[in-house]
């Protein structure tokens, strides 16, 4: 039980450009196990929101059920949160987003919550390109119900129970790519340097941004033979590149060595800079991204980092052509046709 604080600790007095201190982004005491990967992700979210100068109350954090889905209580205490039912975060977030397009939607889920009971809703929120950040805290198991294998547990991976998983695992990044997500990334909760810029990029992304964060469950799935344990992941990570998030390209001019780096420009002009990239494919090429995941997997490695980015597609609101004003802000006058039109309508019905 700890308060989640980002590793990069700012003095309480330090304020970001929006005038908030880091405290404004923190939440309640975490009740997760000490060392749980999920807590690190919470810390990264806090730090990302602080750095991006977001108004905390303009964020809605929505989750399903599970240890992972509990985390929204532990960050962004000034934001409204919704711990819904198991596997149904996507639909609740979709409704929330329909009601008010102006908030930032941070969806948090687990691998059980998303890849099993929530698979249908996951697929369809991707397909609709809902403008949200979707984070899966992926530990390959059902933490809250005491460690059963989840559908992301790799075949042969061994959890605390000691029985190797027999079924193929579902790769959520590949699913997201397949279903048309605009930003797809995979991270490791133990690697904040990579995670934070990617969360920032996901927040800035217009449309559906998916981050699969491998997040070890220290209590039930952190054995040496678990492919979602700290040890295994650290040893098998293969990164698309070392990543910097640059909020405003006019501001800083970093000198990246030519050829070894590449830049992803986000819709607000901010940039994601990949240094010393090991990924030799075009990040905006879906087919290439899919291949790359497979190729790295064939080498018994896990591809991490930003895997795909493309923000040319309309989001759900764009597709269904809603007005700019959030729907929840339209007044009765704007919504109710009034008595007059009824005369004509009734007449037609005679």
């Amino acid at each position: 039980m700890t308060y989640i604080r980002p590793n990069f600790r700012h003095p309480e007095s330090l304020r970001n450009d929006a005038g908030y201190s880091i405290k404004h982004y923190e939440g309640a005491l975490s009740t997760l196990c000490a060392g749980c990967g999920h807590d690190s992700i919470s810390a990264a979210i806090i730090k990302s929101c602080f750095d991006l100068n977001l108004a905390p109350h303009k964020i809605a954090k929505i989750s399903g059920i599970g240890c992972s889905s509990k985390t929204p209580t532990y960050f962004l205490g000034k934001a409204h949160g919704f711990n819904s039912v198991h596997g149904r975060m996507p639909s609740v977030t979709t409704g929330a987003n329909m009601a008010n397009k102006d908030l930032l939607y941070l969806g948090v889920s687990g691998d059980g919550d998303t890849a099993s009971i929530g698979m249908g809703q996951f697929a369809h929120v991707v397909r609709r390109n809902l403008n949200m950040v979707y984070i899966v805290m992926n530990n390959g198991c059902y933490g809250l119900t005491k460690g059963q294998d989840s559908a992301t547990a790799d075949q042969g991976s061994v959890s605390k129970k000691g029985v190797p998983s027999v079924f193929d695992s579902i790769d959520l990044c590949q699913m997201a790519l397949q279903l048309g997500a605009g930003l797809v990334a995979r991270c490791f909760s133990g690697d904040k340097k990579q995670l934070i810029p990617i969360i920032k990029a996901a927040i800035q992304h217009q449309g559906f941004a998916f981050i699969d964060v491998i997040s070890p469950c220290v209590t039930f799935n952190n054995t040496p033979q678990s492919t979602k344990g700290y040890e295994w992941v650290r040893e098998h990570m293969e990164a698309t590149g070392t990543i910097d998030f640059i909020p405003d390209r006019t501001e800083i001019t970093l000198d990246y060595p030519a050829g070894s780096s590449r830049t992803v420009t986000l819709h607000d002009g901010s940039e994601l800079h990949l240094q010393k990239s090991s990924a030799d494919y075009d990040l905006s090429n879906r087919k290439a991204a899919m291949q790359q995941i497979e190729t790295v997997k064939e080498q018994q490695k896990i591809l991490t980092g930003l895997i795909y980015h493309n923000d040319t597609k309309l989001d759900t609101h764009g597709k269904i052509n809603t007005v700019d004003t959030p729907l929840n802000a339209l007044t009765q006058d704007e919504l109710c046709p009034g008595s007059e039109v009824l005369a004509a309508l009734n007449a037609k019905l005679r």
């Binding site: 108004a55 149904r88 609740v92 987003n97 809703q121 052509n321 007005v323 009734n346």
Partner: protein, 618 residues
């Protein structure tokens, strides 16, 4: 057949059309019933269609009633039998003295040997074949021809048909003349070959006032527009789909921003019913008015989410257009059989507000009321319509809107109110004693009012708790809210004259119940009550208390409304006699009269002095 047996009546008959679906008969049949309406004679029409798209039997029943009885009566006086698959059955179902209209291009087999009915043969196929060469035209005009024949046979003013055709094809004037020609073909043939055979007439009256013809689902969809609903998440299912179709149609008409061409509404066809209600819950939580419409299977699937909305206190507007259950059941037949599953949807101690509209006008009104109640009570409200109401065209009062009406968005704190708050605000704190706490919408205030919504147990300040006492306090407060609900839902409609016998009905049983009551009252005084909502107000309990014999009319097998009444009002079930129709067809007045009379006769035998009757079990 003797003349005495011949059915004869003016503006009082039941005509049944037996067709094949997908053959274009629906529009012809509608043309006919609309003509009756336009003649100023009350009419009701029931479309009895199969659960497929093309090629199966479908029926259309038109009730013409000068007295204004709009339910099913029972029995058919006139059969338009143009479906070979069902013709013999249709033939047998005709009332003695009735009229059997058929396509005489082929002669009737010998088995059609009833001597108590009138045969009216019109060679529809021969006529169309001789007049039209295009197969599609043949099919369409065949239907129009029999309508023309009916116009003659029932002595209807031909002009009203012409006018209908003219207004129907106002956009496609080329079609007017051929349609009128087809009508005439039928009219003329009947006039020539069946002169003065039919003693059923439909003559012009002026009984329909300002009434309109509308489907309940269209009215509910329109109601959602007027109530200011902006978000709809839904999944197709018969017979609820047309609610959303209507909502979309009316939104496109009234809710598109003129300047930008953009929509002041968001309709999402969800991937299933769980997602549909999830969308509604998310949108409602975030301050929009949102709704979904479904039928039984959808309600079952929404059950978990309904429990969340109950416990986390999120407004939900759900329309359940009931069909015949259980399971897939008869998807295109009606029933009132989701009462228990809707009222107590979800595990744990839950209960939800139900509304029971009885006609399209009420579908509109109760939808608007439903949104107000959901916001005020911060809980799910379920409009319990049914296939009969939702998908049939009903004659009803015109839709009205009072421009001074202001939406009741319930206890929502805005930014200023939050700023002004001196005490600590608690999302689940009952400060007014009505069991309803104040809520806030995400994004309202930079510092105050944020809270965590959860389906797990929470204290008054929305914090997670496993303290049994705190949990129990919250659950008890929900009962206080339930009591408040009783005072806010539409009251039952009571007609009381101090009789010993009370008849209770609700929803679409209202039509036939009223007719049955008129008949039964000729020999026996009876009071009546129409229930409009669950939970029940005081008036419901009182009505039951005041009557020693209660008949309760339902369209299900298990007397589900009785279960609700008995359970919620602590009523002795033995005081209630259930009258149950469960075959998926809208209940008929005839059935009601027979059933109730039969019970009364039995009671009379058991208690000759008719004194301390306690009623029989259902």
């Amino acid at each position: 057949m003797t003349n005495e047996n011949t059915l004869s009546a003016t503006n009082d008959c039941v005509i049944r059309f037996a067709n094949v679906n997908g053959s274009g008969s629906a529009s012809a049949n509608n043309l006919f019933s609309k003509a009756v309406f336009r003649l100023g004679v009350p009419v009701s029409a029931k479309n009895i269609f199969p659960s497929n798209i093309q090629g199966l039997p479908t029926w259309f029943e038109v009730r013409v009633s000068e007295q204004g009885y709009l339910g099913r009566r029972g029995g058919y006086d006139f059969m338009v039998a143009v479906n070979g698959q069902t013709m013999y059955k249709d033939y047998l179902e005709l009332l003695p003295g009735g009229y059997f209209f058929y396509d005489s291009s082929k002669r009737l087999p010998d088995s059609y040997d009833r001597s108590d009915i009138h045969l009216i043969g019109v060679p529809l196929t021969d006529i169309t074949n001789s007049q039209y060469s295009d197969p599609r035209q043949r099919q369409i005009f065949k239907n129009i021809i029999y309508v023309g024949a009916l116009a003659y046979l029932l002595d209807m003013d031909f002009r009203v048909f012409e006018e209908s055709i003219e207004s129907l094809f106002a956009q496609k004037p080329k079609l007017i003349e051929p349609n009128i020609k087809a009508l005439k073909l039928g009219y003329d043939y009947a006039e020539k070959h069946h002169t003065d055979i039919c003693r059923l007439n439909i003559h012009r009256r002026d009984l329909n006032g300002d009434q309109i013809l509308m489907e309940g689902n269209a009215a509910a969809g329109l109601g959602a527009v007027y109530a200011g609903a902006t978000v709809a998440g839904w999944y197709p299912i018969t017979p609820s789909t047309s609610v959303i179709e209507a909502f979309e149609r009316y939104c496109r008409a009234y809710r598109v921003d003129k300047a930008s061409g953009r929509n002041k509404f968001a309709i999402l066809q969800a991937e299933d019913e769980l997602a549909a209600i999830g969308i509604v819950i998310g949108a409602s939580w975030n301050g929009a008015r949102a709704f979904t419409a479904t039928s039984g299977p959808g309600v079952s699937l929404m059950s978990e989410f309904l429990g969340l909305a109950y416990f986390a206190e999120i407004p939900v507007m759900l329309m359940d257009i009931q069909r015949t259950g259980p399971s897939t059941g008869m998807p295109t037949r009606t029933q009132q059989s989701d009462l228990i599953s809707a009222a107590y949807a979800s595990h744990g101690d839950t209960r939800h507000v139900l509304l029971f509209p009885a006609n399209p006008t009420e579908c509109f009104d109760m939808t608007v009321t439903g949104f107000d109640l959901a916001d005020r009570l911060q809980t799910p409200v379920i409009l319990m319509s049914d296939l009969d109401l939702g998908m049939n065209v009903h004659q009803c009062d015109p839709i009205k809107w009072d421009d001074s009406r202001v939406y009741d968005r319930g206890k929502v704190l805005n930014e200023q109110q939050l700023t002004d708050l001196s005490e600590r605000w608690g999302r689940y704190l009952d400060v007014d004693g009505d069991g309803i706490p104040y809520r806030t919408i995400p994004g309202t205030h930079p510092e105050k009012g944020a809270f965590f919504t959860r389906g797990s147990s929470h204290d008054e300040y929305a914090a997670y708790t496993e303290d049994g006492e705190v949990y129990a306090r919250g659950m008890q407060r929900l009962l206080v809210k339930w009591d408040t609900a009783k005072t806010l839902v539409p009251a039952a409609e009571v007609t009381s004259d101090g009789a010993d016998i009370g008849v209770i009905y609700f929803g679409t049983s209202a039509y036939s119940s009223r007719e049955a009551l008129d008949q039964l009252r000729s020999t026996q005084a009876m009071d009546a009550m129409r229930i409009k909502a669950f939970p029940f107000g005081q008036e419901v309990a009182e009505f039951i208390k005041q009557h020693s014999i209660i008949f309760l009319i339902e369209q299900n097998r298990d007397a589900q409304m009785k279960a609700l009444l008995v359970n919620e009002l602590a009523i002795d079930p033995n005081t209630i006699i259930s009258v149950l129709n469960m075959d998926g067809m809208p209940i008929t007045a005839e059935f009601l009269v027979t059933e109730i009379q039969c019970h009364l006769d039995q009671l009379a035998v058991h208690n000759p002095d008719n004194q301390q009757t306690t009623g029989g079990a259902a």
